[in-house]
């Protein structure tokens, strides 16, 4: 299992050809109180860099971009029922969706956890 991060503050946990995607602790902290989240439905085809999900805090609405391409296996129903779960546990229970990777090569060039945490400190 390997975890990657993007400069758009998403994390991708890869197991075989399956990836779980969410937003980083830094992202939830920056957004503040999250009041709405919408994960993609199973079966939807995601394209790297295109909209995949929506997250809204009291102050702002944001799109979550697909960090990798592939077919959605499962959206997390818990984030729609209790969006604050993303604030409480962004890199665990607050995951957004699982996707079957169509091109593992897309993972090349993403940051590992150490590189991401170091980079965030420079922001």
């Amino acid at each position: 299992m390997t975890v990657y991060f993007t400069k758009e503050h998403e994390w991708i946990r890869v197991e075989g050809d399956t990836a779980t995607v969410g937003i980083s602790d830094h992202a939830q902290e920056a957004l503040g109180d999250i009041v709405f989240a919408e994960a993609p439905e199973a079966g939807r085809q995601l394209t790297k860099g295109k909209e995949a999900a929506v997250v809204e805090s009291v102050k702002a609405a944001s799109d979550v971009y697909a960090p990798v391409s592939g077919e959605v296996i499962e959206g997390n129903p818990a984030i729609a029922d209790d969006p604050a779960i993303i604030n409480r546990d962004p890199e665990g229970e607050g995951w957004f969706f699982k996707v079957k990777l169509s091109d593992t090569g897309e993972l090349d060039g993403l940051m590992d956890e150490g590189a991401y945490r170091d980079w965030v400190k420079t922001l």
Binding site: E8, I23, F36, E38, K59, A60, A61, S62
Partner: protein
């Protein structure tokens, strides 16, 4: 992740190009205007305030979190720094009748030390700003919005006769203490404030400093606005938050509180394109001024009072959980655009989305079903009574 839509008075915090917007350049290359510092700048930072650009200042958008701060203010007492607002003293011969040419309030009959909500108007009836004005003896104390104060001062100086002087009292800070425990907290620091009733003010002294305090605010709760010399503001803020019922509250909760209270925000819900009648602010024009006119925009405004305005400001209950924000369109049952959302968001007290905006007056009755369109998505909504959360002002004989 990228921010797309922003909300309310803290727009600038969410502008594209901030480090959190997904712009890898972090906004490099975009011009950053110089920001002024509030008298309490370092106080906010010491108390964990997240500072953002607003109205030309760095201001705290939140401390511990907007929802927690919002609910704290509804249950206890919240301390807001609103020193970005302009505190003006207007004085000189016949200042009242001179001001009445620009404002629709009855300033000649205005009781001493009784703040009144009023509006600075354009000749075409549009709103230059909304404000609070208080007669203090022969002078008028006026509090105007932060983002508009420079324009207001220019407008007042240009339009008032030479013998009426507009002083911008830069050396004063302005704090607001709001919430059901505000009186209990402030009375321990400044004895006597508990005797004020809603929309009543007075001079007070604290540790040798002259204060001006009125029982008023922008949250729908009981509370006070406190004008204090900038040099003493941090000490006073310390004394207030030393009370276990008081906490500092940021701009984010200020916006969600005033939205629940149904109060318009200048630059969003009212502006130069809206009139007092469209905005439902008819109460700011009293009987004598309606009969006599003689204020900027009277021609249009008196006609609208008589016949109604084409558009009206209303509240909306929005179905579902997703906030519908400023800029969303209002559609009728046939999909025609009949208005626009001017403020909207998630109500922490009601735990659901609420909004405010304009619709064709024929569609303004409470309960009218309408659709809202935001980023290509349709939402069911109904025209709702405002305030969304009842006001709890401290009125004479009420407590």
């Amino acid at each position: 992740m990228s921010k797309e839509v922003h909300n309310g008075p803290t727009d600038e915090t969410q502008a594209r190009g901030t480090p959190y917007s997904g712009d890898p350049q972090g906004g490099a290359g975009t011009e950053q205007p110089t920001l002024d510092k509030l008298p309490l700048d370092s106080w906010h930072r010491e108390h964990g305030g997240r500072m953002v650009p607003f109205a030309g200042y760095e201001m705290p958008v939140q401390y511990e979190g907007i929802i927690a701060e919002h609910l704290w203010t509804r249950e206890n007492a919240g301390l807001f720094d609103v020193s970005h607002m302009g505190q003006l003293l207007i004085h000189g011969r016949d200042a009242d009748s001179a001001l009445e040419k620009l404002l629709p309030g009855d300033l000649q009959a205005l009781g001493d030390m009784k703040p009144k909500y009023s509006l600075l108007l354009e000749e075409n009836g549009g709103i230059v700003d909304d404000l609070m004005i208080t007669r203090r003896g022969a002078d008028f104390y006026m509090v105007v919005n932060g983002a508009t104060k420079d324009g207001d001062i220019d407008y007042l100086r240009r339009r008032l006769p030479g013998e009426v002087i507009v002083d911008y009292m830069k050396e004063l800070a302005l704090l607001a203490l709001q919430g059901p425990r505000a009186a209990e907290v402030l009375e321990t620091i400044i004895p006597g404030v508990g005797d004020l009733t809603f929309m009543q003010g007075g001079p007070f002294a604290w540790q040798g400093h002259n204060l001006w305090i009125s029982r008023s605010g922008y949250t729908g709760e009981d509370g006070y606005e406190i004008s204090v010399p900038a040099a003493a503001a941090a000490d006073l803020a310390d004394a207030i938050v030393a009370h276990e019922a008081a906490k500092p509250i940021g701009l984010g909760a200020r916006d969600s509180l005033r939205l629940e209270a149904g109060l318009p925000l200048y630059g969003h819900d009212i502006d130069a394109e809206t009139t007092p009648v469209m905005a439902g602010l008819n109460f700011a024009i009293n009987k004598r001024r309606r009969a006599d006119g003689g204020f900027a925009g009277a021609l249009r405004i008196l006609a609208e009072l008589e016949n109604g305005a084409a558009q009206t400001r209303v509240g909306f209950d929005v179905e579902g959980r997703q906030p519908v924000r400023e800029g969303a369109l209002v559609l009728d049952g046939e999909g025609n655009e009949v208005g626009r959302i001017t403020s909207g968001g998630f109500s922490p007290s009601l735990q659901r989305p609420i909004a405010m905006g304009y619709v064709a007056t024929s569609l303004a009755p409470i309960g009218t079903p309408l659709k809202l369109e935001q980023r290509g998505k349709l939402f069911d909504a109904k025209v709702a009574a405002m305030p969304f959360v009842p006001h709890r002002y401290y009125r004479k004989g009420a407590a």
